[in-house]
């Protein structure tokens, strides 16, 4: 039978509380609990790394509250990929002619017929599985002649509403939305959490879910259609030292409780790589590229 395991200290507190209640002394209970508290364990280095230092950004304010915005161009992230934004723009501009050859979804057609600055790439990070709150909305779009990352970070649980409201604004202003498994996961989570906070995401623009596009285009040619598998075959990149997705919720909780931003930078980097890979997959899809099986 699944029952929440009781720690020794907690059992003692609950017993004490049972006893106080039996005597009708609810008010005394706090004193008893206070007396029983063991000092909490001190872990980690004495000096936490500050967020402003680890992930420079600006505090943003909107009607729903405040949040932390980390804005940087691809150039700042990776010198090797300095040429990619130009390539990206060229493929998006040129894809109209080759469009007929594509086994494409309506959303992909929409992108092919639009401008490079049309797509808004989006990937979220959450505090756990379904039903949990969202702490990071990673966005990427083509601005000027550069791919720009904009990560909306809730520095604690109380800032979730502000990042959702900000995302709702961005979504309303974009021509297409590009995600990886966003139809089943990201957008559902955003809508559910938005409903809770009274933030209406409104009408979703055409949504290109690259998981579905990848399955349509490359199923059978690659071992599976997970993002990181596709990354190997199309971006010729393997992640080293990346924080695994399943470790992200706990790392974020630790960040909120302890304020040490070291793990936070890993989460931000993970999210950023996901966005970048999405852009590269979109290019591959539009240009009819096949997986590099030597990778």
């Amino acid at each position: 039978m699944a029952v929440m395991a009781l720690s020794e200290s907690r059992r003692r507190k609950l017993e004490m509380l049972t006893r106080c209640l039996a005597g009708g002394k609810v008010k005394d209970a706090q004193a008893v609990i206070d007396a029983l508290h063991t000092p909490s364990r001190v872990t980690g280095p004495a000096l936490p790394v500050q967020l402003a230092q680890a992930a420079p950004g600006i505090e943003q304010h909107n009607a729903a509250g405040t949040y932390w915005l980390i804005r940087r161009p691809l150039l700042e992230v990776s010198a090797e990929l300095a040429g990619f934004p130009r390539e990206y723009a060229a493929i998006l501009r040129g894809s109209r002619q080759r469009f007929d050859e594509l086994k494409a979804s309506p959303a992909l057609c929409h992108i092919a017929n639009g401008l490079p600055d049309g797509p808004l790439f989006m990937d979220i990070e959450t505090c756990g599985l379904a039903g949990c709150s969202i702490f990071l909305v990673g966005l990427m779009s083509f601005q000027g002649d550069e791919l720009m990352f904009e990560q909306l970070l809730a520095r604690h649980y109380g800032e979730e509403r502000a990042i959702l409201a900000e995302f709702a604004d961005r979504l309303a202003g974009s021509a297409t939305l590009v995600t990886f498994n966003g139809k089943a996961f990201d957008m559902n989570s955003l809508r559910d959490r938005g409903a809770f906070h009274g933030v209406d995401l409104g009408f979703t623009p055409p949504h290109c879910d690259l998981l579905h596009e990848s399955r349509r285009l490359w199923k059978g040619q690659v071992p599976n259609c997970k993002l990181q598998t596709l990354e190997q075959f199309f971006c010729r990149r393997r992640r080293v030292g990346d924080i695994p997705g399943r470790d992200i919720p706990d790392a974020y909780h630790r960040f909120v409780s302890g304020g040490d931003a070291r793990e936070m930078t890993m989460i931000l980097h993970h999210n950023l790589l996901d966005l970048l890979t999405m852009a590269q997959l979109l290019c591959a899809a539009l240009s009819g590229e096949q997986p590099d099986l030597s990778a």
């Binding site: 699944a2 029952v3 395991a5 209640l21 508290h37 756990g128 809508r191 809770f196």
Partner: protein, 770 residues
């Protein structure tokens, strides 16, 4: 049927040997009708017309009026008095008036939700109602590809508390439209929400209400209950609201004869052994069926339901047309099979069912002519609920309570005035139990950050318990709000019920591994151990393998002339003593206990003769309940004193233990089924009384007793000294209320003896005197 004539015939039959101990005639009552204060919406009125309902009974009209006045109500009327209409009329009316309104129906079991779905579908078959009333079941069995559609389009959702707890509330964002428009919450069979389960459900409902407020609704609550002593108190605590009681039962009742029937002695002169109650039940059943009286038999164990069915069809082999109109019904049959039997009974295609208490809850099978209760069901509430299955408005009905040769049953046979006079049991819950509330607060916190304002829902302990969750690192506090700070979802780790919901599949290897039945995981080692004979609609299957990992029992049909019975071993071990204090000249202790039970062997019993024809040992893992309890060993001088006064000290301790178990519910606010106890000398070397919580990890009931020992023993003293019985009865020292051997034929056991009242009284006196 003419019950009086039937009774006359049975008692003049040559087999009759004075079995009828007492006949109580319950007078008939005419229907009392009433008009609702305001006319019903036309589509509702015409639906009722088409169903042949010209007028509402008084309680139904009362309920409709009270709900229209915005009251939260609890309806307590007899079995088959039309309680369902009390909520369906207001709900359907509201949906017609406001198509965006929503209702949530909560039933304690999945089977009841399915049954009620059928009723609502009948309503929805009307053209004028179809648009507004879109009912759907949403529970653990709902396929995931249907769930999105149900959430967005159903106007009435039928579910159970467990699903609400683990599958709906944590995902409230997906339910925001439903919750925003929620007008009514219907809680049927609320009398089942008592003890630990009820205390959890009360908190689940508070979580629901809190989210409704968040999304902007404030639904009304409609409860229905079988008869219990304290419906207002129970539903008030369950919902946290002031409830209005609707109990002017206007349903008509025919005359009912309640017969106490005691099987005769079969050992002329010695008066020890009685004829089998199972066999007596079969004879009565066959007599009734031959008179075309629709009958239900309630047995206390699944095996007995199967045996009664087998014996009855054997006895009727010269009347195959009658024999095939009888079917067994019990937990463990597949849902489709159960639905089919329920419907056949309801449509009158069956003449009789041989059932367990699986049919006690309100599944609508219509009204029957006769009910046969094989053995006292254990509580007065259950007895009257089972008896309520018999009773038609226009004609007489008859109920037989057959006694086993068991001390409690025999006591009832000797004291009919006690049986008919004793009040229904109280249903007790304690939503404020710190152990329960603490787990529930974690769930609530996951759903929405906790703040001071939530005291409205969770009471004055909120701050203490939330602070504790924070200390444990489960929540994190920001600006006066506490947020859940773990990746795991808490509700998956908080079980509402004391009994696990896990099941084993029973698979027939001769039929391509088809699943023929199921059994809960606690019962599996007692029902489908290797070489057990598993009876399914009286077809014998032999168990070839019990796979405890995969939770599967592999069986195949066999031809044998016996059935099997498990031999159980129980024990209670002290794992760690946590606290102790001196009490009188002994020591009172509290700590961790492991209570284990194990099927160690099985017996082969020949049909009919009940002759033991074989026994074999089994090597099955023990099942363990790790809990907390209290224990006390009376001192050597105290035991000697008892002996000198002519009392058996162990018998005295058994009596006091039974009293302690009977008294603890009012002190610790628990259900009597949530606690148990033992008298054992293997732990301490001297006999000691143990009382423990029947919930993994414990919930503080035994601890409350440990803490308030003096008060507890005084309660015991009051119970025993105020009891008018002579030498002990089920109301004082008698009713052990231990974990019943669920899969044993009571005919083969002797039950628990009623301990000596004088001995228990003497021990209590010694424990209470300075």
């Amino acid at each position: 049927m003419d019950a009086r004539a039937f009774l006359r015939e049975v008692t003049t039959d040559r087999r009759y040997r004075g079995q009828v101990v007492h006949v109580r005639e319950l007078p008939p009552r005419d229907a009392q009708y009433a008009q609702p204060a305001e006319p019903l919406p036309q589509p509702v009125a015409s639906h009722l017309q088409r169903q042949g309902i010209g007028q509402l009974y008084r309680h139904q009209a009362d309920a409709v009026d009270a709900v229209r006045d915005g009251k939260d109500v609890v309806i307590v009327t007899g079995t088959a008095s039309g309680k369902t209409l009390c909520y369906n009329i207001p709900v359907v009316s509201a949906l017609i008036e406001n198509p965006s309104a929503r209702a949530l129906y909560i039933f304690p079991t999945k089977a009841l939700a399915q049954d009620q779905l059928g009723h609502l579908q009948k309503w929805a078959a009307d053209d004028e109602i179809r648009e507004a009333l879109r009912p759907a079941v949403y529970d653990g069995d709902t396929p995931s590809h249907n769930r999105t559609k149900i959430r967005s389009s159903a106007s009435v959702i039928l579910t159970n508390p467990d699903m609400l707890h683990v599958g709906i509330l944590p995902y409230h964002g997906k339910w925001h439209q439903f919750l925003r428009n929620l007008r009514y919450i219907v809680l049927d069979e609320v009398h089942t929400y008592r003890g630990i389960f009820g205390s959890h459900v009360a908190n689940v409902l508070r979580r629901l209400e809190r989210l409704c407020r968040h999304y902007g609704s404030n639904p009304q609550i409609i409860c229905c209950s079988a008869t219990i002593a304290n419906p207002l108190e129970l539903t008030g605590k369950l919902t946290g609201r002031e409830m209005t009681l609707i109990d002017r039962d206007g349903a008509p009742r025919g005359r009912k004869y309640f017969v106490l029937w005691n099987p005769p002695y079969i050992d002329a002169g010695e008066n020890i052994a009685r004829r089998s109650a199972n066999v007596e039940a079969v004879e009565l059943l066959c007599d009734l069926v031959q008179r075309k009286a629709q009958t239900i038999v309630f047995s206390k164990a699944r095996i007995v339901a199967e045996l009664v069915y087998k014996y009855a069809t054997d006895a009727l082999r010269r009347h195959p047309d009658l024999a095939k109109k009888i079917r067994p019904y019990r937990g463990g049959y597949l849902p489709a099979e159960r639905r089919e039997i329920e419907q056949q009974l309801f449509q009158g295609k069956l003449l009789a069912v041989s059932a367990t208490n699986a049919l006690e809850l309100g599944i609508d099978v219509g009204s029957l002519d006769a009910a046969i209760l094989v053995g006292f069901p254990g509580t007065i509430c259950s007895t009257w609920q089972q008896a309520g299955r018999a009773g038609r408005s226009g004609s007489d009905s008859i109920v037989f309570l057959l006694a086993y040769n068991d001390p409690i049953d025999q006591y009832l046979m000797r004291h009919p005035e006690y049986f008919f006079g004793v009040p229904h049991e109280n249903a007790v819950i304690d939503p404020q139990n710190p152990f329960i509330l603490s787990g529930q607060l974690a769930c609530a916190c996951f759903e929405k950050p906790l703040s001071q304002e939530d005291e409205v829902y969770f009471g004055p302990q909120l701050e203490d318990l939330a602070a504790d969750l924070e200390q444990e690192g489960q929540v994190h506090s920001i600006d006066g709000k506490r947020y859940w700070r773990q990746a795991e979802q808490p509700s998956a780790q908080v079980d509402l019920r004391t009994i696990s919901q896990d099941t084993y599949a029973i698979v027939d290897i001769s039929q391509n591994h088809r699943t023929i039945g199921q059994v809960d995981s606690i019962s599996a080692p007692e029902l489908v151990y290797p070489e057990a004979i598993y009876l399914h609609e009286a077809v014998p299957y032999i168990v070839r393998q019990l796979d405890t990992q995969a939770k599967i029992a592999l069986v195949e049909p066999c031809e044998v002339d016996y059935y099997t019975q498990p031999v159980l071993a129980n024990q209670c071990r002290i794992i760690e003593q946590r606290q102790e204090k001196p009490y009188r000249d002994g020591r009172l202790c509290y700590g961790d206990l492991d209570v284990t039970w194990q099927t160690t062997a099985f017996r082969k019993i020949r049909y009919y003769s009940m002759e033991l024809i074989g026994q074999a040992a089994l090597d099955l893992p023990a099942q363990t309940l790790s809990t907390t309890g209290m224990w006390f060993a009376p001192s050597e001088p105290m035991r000697q004193q008892l002996g000198q006064a002519g009392h058996n000290p162990v018998d005295a301790m058994v009596g006091v233990r039974n009293l302690m178990l009977a008294a603890l519910p009012s002190l610790a606010m628990c259900d009597r089924r949530d606690i148990s106890g033992q008298v054992d000398s293997s732990n301490l070397g001297t006999p000691a009384m143990f009382v423990y919580d029947r919930y993994n990890g414990g919930v503080g009931f035994a601890y409350r007793g440990f803490d308030l020992i003096e008060e507890w023993l005084k309660l015991c003293w009051n119970m025993v000294s105020e009891c008018p019985c002579e030498s002990g009865c089920p109301s004082c020292v008698g009713l052990a209320n231990l974990r019943p051997p669920l899969h044993q034929d009571p005919d083969l056991g002797a039950g628990y003896p009623v301990p000596d009242k004088a001995a228990a009284t003497a021990l209590l006196k010694a424990l209470l005197s300075d």
